[in-house]
């Protein structure tokens, strides 16, 4: 069949978008390679590649630079991988939550997962007396448990209220306040050290993250974001009309809200249980991606994932380098870095070339 001219034009635009996505991923790899070399012990990209090849060929222990290689392989690489996994996950979750609620101000944290996770961490630190930070298993489990519990609560309320998009936002916001009050109550009774530990946790940091933790994070992020991608057309339909019209297109909006919402929350809970609260990426990355590729979720989801990864990676590196040897938590830096970027995008208008 002879293709219409429009068909070819559309095909060309999709080709440009795929190319842009490939370039973005290449940029992530290249920048990652550069970011690894930065830090208290500076190295070159060559050392990084040699370290990886030494690991792969099994000659790590015998080599002369084993200590340097280990810094790269066991400290910097997992940290970078964690930034990428968390960036992709939070950004994809943000896009998903904005799509199911039809509200551009929503982030994965709107439904209260972050305050629930913080509440869980507070329980572990204050009530159970866990002291060490950075992926202590009890803290992770408590944070994750509370975040998932919060998600279940929100969805029970919403299901009773008919699964409308307003009910998700309202119930989530209410839950957010409830868990914040819980955390405050615990902090009221905490001693000085516990208090500082709790506050530290809420900054959100990638300090001392191990391969095992990155692995668990990726185990949630990869399947959840791939599953979200399968809802792309349903998201598009939901963005373009009210629920009745969406049902007329063969999509059940309530079912999409439950499934995609839970996938987003699960992914977010898994990430912030390890890293602490890294806000803002989930809100801003979808918007930056939307500025670039427009509202088609088939492209918006992968683009915002890539933007999220890039943003967190850059923020973590800046936080590590700017006041070295002090490391500023990534959760703080990402806002300092993201807000000017975002404002600039709002002011300079939309980039047309991929839309």
């Amino acid at each position: 069949m002879e293709h219409t001219e429009l068909f070819r034009q559309y095909q060309k635009r999709e080709g440009r978008r795929c190319l842009a996505l490939a370039l973005l991923i290449a940029a992530i790899v290249a920048l990652g390679l550069w970011f690894i070399t930065l830090g208290t012990a500076s190295t070159g990209p060559g050392t990084v590649l040699r370290a990886v090849s030494a690991l792969l060929s099994g000659t790590l222990e015998g080599s002369e630079e084993a200590a340097e290689y280990k810094i790269i392989l066991l400290l910097r690489l997992p940290r970078l991988a964690a930034a990428v996994a968390a960036g992709v996950g939070l950004a994809a979750a943000g896009t998903g939550m904005q799509a199911v609620t039809g509200n551009p101000l929503v982030s994965p944290f709107t439904v209260g997962v972050s305050s629930a996770a913080a509440f869980g961490a507070s329980i572990a630190i204050v009530l159970l007396g866990v002291t060490s930070l950075g992926g202590e298993l009890t803290i992770v489990l408590c944070a994750f448990g509370c975040a998932v519990g919060c998600a279940v609560l929100v969805y029970l309320v919403c299901a009773a209220a008919g699964m409308s998009s307003e009910s998700v936002v309202l119930a989530g916001t209410a839950m957010s306040y409830l868990f914040s009050a819980g955390s405050s109550a615990l902090q009221f009774f905490a001693d000085e050290h516990q208090l500082s530990d709790v506050v530290q946790w809420t900054f959100g940091s990638l300090n001392g993250i191990s391969w095992r933790e990155v692995g668990i994070m990726a185990l949630f992020v990869a399947p959840c974001s791939l599953a979200l991608r399968r809802f792309a057309l349903a998201f598009n339909a939901m963005a373009a009309g009210e629920d009745g019209v969406v049902r007329g297109l063969g999509v059940n909006p309530a079912a999409v809200r439950v499934t995609a919402g839970l996938l987003s929350i699960l992914m977010t809970a898994a990430i912030i249980s390890f890293t602490g609260v890294i806000g803002f990426v989930g809100l801003i990355a979808p918007h930056i991606a939307r500025f670039v590729v427009g509202g088609d979720h088939r492209f918006l989801l992968p683009f915002s994932g890539a933007v999220g990864a890039l943003l967190l990676m850059a923020a973590d590196t800046v936080g590590k380098v700017i006041l070295a040897p002090v490391t500023i938590p990534v959760g703080i830096v990402v806002s300092f870095l993201g807000v000017p970027l975002f404002l600039n995008l709002i002011l300079t208008g939309r980039k047309r070339f991929l839309r």
């Binding site: 069949m1 293709h3 219409t4 001219e5 429009l6 068909f7 034009q9 559309y10 095909q11 635009r13 991608r229 399968r230 809802f231 792309a232 057309l233 349903a234 598009n236 339909a237 963005a239 373009a240 009309g241 009210e242 009745g244 019209v245 049902r247 007329g248 297109l249 063969g250 999509v251 059940n252 939307r290 427009g294 509202g295 088609d296 979720h297 088939r298 839309r355």
Partner: protein, 264 residues
């Protein structure tokens, strides 16, 4: 060969029934116009036919097949709905919007070549080619109505339901969109049901009319039969003059004589 609506009943919550046993049949290839004052349930009726509103009672058959028995997706492949408008300034391009009409056919969030081919053929046929990569928010009312129609046609439906397709359009666009729908109905053998307020347009374009009132069908038949001063007085409470000329039915609205003394 037709769309049969049998004894449709619906009420919102526990309130008064909006539809209280509505039955009619729409032949393929023709337009059937739903008339009636505001709030008589024209939109509700369209949404019930599509079973977007539940629970409604009754039966809707397409060529003898029960539309309500099938799943959401299956039904969306047969019945398409054109809403009165789109809300807000959508951040979606026209091409992507029309492509979303292929949602009931796509699996796993992917669109096939065939899906694109169908959607873009519809776009070109409706003269929307030059708008394809514009944003929905940047279109005029007439263009937007055509895009909504294009999305419905991209569903390759057998039944087309339109909710006041001419509501916010100028005279030229009103006629244009209805002529377009008429042509499509004839060519694709679609059963078309449209809710419409403009009696003259309805008389010009619809082969049969259904006059709704108080949740029931008050009258049903050809424009000449339905549009009489008596039936319009009963339905709308207004005085009209109905003229048959050039093979068309024209309804003129008569203003009640203003009695200044009584008003004051």
């Amino acid at each position: 060969m037709s769309l049969q609506v049998e004894d449709l009943r619906f009420r919102y919550g526990g309130g008064e029934p909006v539809l209280d046993g509505v039955s009619f049949a729409a032949r393929r290839g023709e337009l059937l116009g739903l008339l009636g004052p505001n709030g008589t349930g024209k939109t509700t009726l369209l949404r019930c036919v599509q079973r977007v509103l539940t629970p409604c009672e009754g039966r809707v058959l397409l060529d003898g097949r029960d539309l309500w028995e099938m799943g959401l997706r299956q039904r969306a492949r047969l019945v398409a709905y054109v809403p009165q408008g789109v809300h807000g300034a959508l951040p979606v391009s026209v091409a992507d919007f029309v492509l979303s009409g292929r949602t009931p056919f796509a699996a796993g969030g992917r669109l096939s070549k065939n899906d694109r081919e169908i959607a873009f053929t519809v776009l070109e046929r409706l003269g929307l080619k030059e708008f394809a990569f514009r944003q929905m928010g940047a279109l005029s009312g007439g263009e937007r109505q055509r895009v909504l129609l294009a999305r419905a046609l991209a569903q390759t439906p057998q039944v087309l339901l339109l909710d006041e397709p001419t509501a916010s359009l100028d005279l030229r666009n009103q006629l244009r969109i209805l002529e377009l729908v008429e042509k499509l109905a004839r060519r694709e053998r679609l059963a078309v049901v449209l809710a419409i307020h403009d009696l003259n347009l309805a008389a010009a374009c619809c082969r049969s009319l259904v006059l709704l009132g108080e949740g029931r069908v008050q009258a049903m038949g050809t424009p000449e039969d339905i549009l009489t001063p008596e039936s319009l007085r009963r339905a709308y409470g207004v005085e009209t003059e109905v003229v048959q000329a050039r093979g068309q039915t024209f309804v003129h609205l008569l203003k009640a004589p203003v009695n200044v003394k009584n008003e004051l």
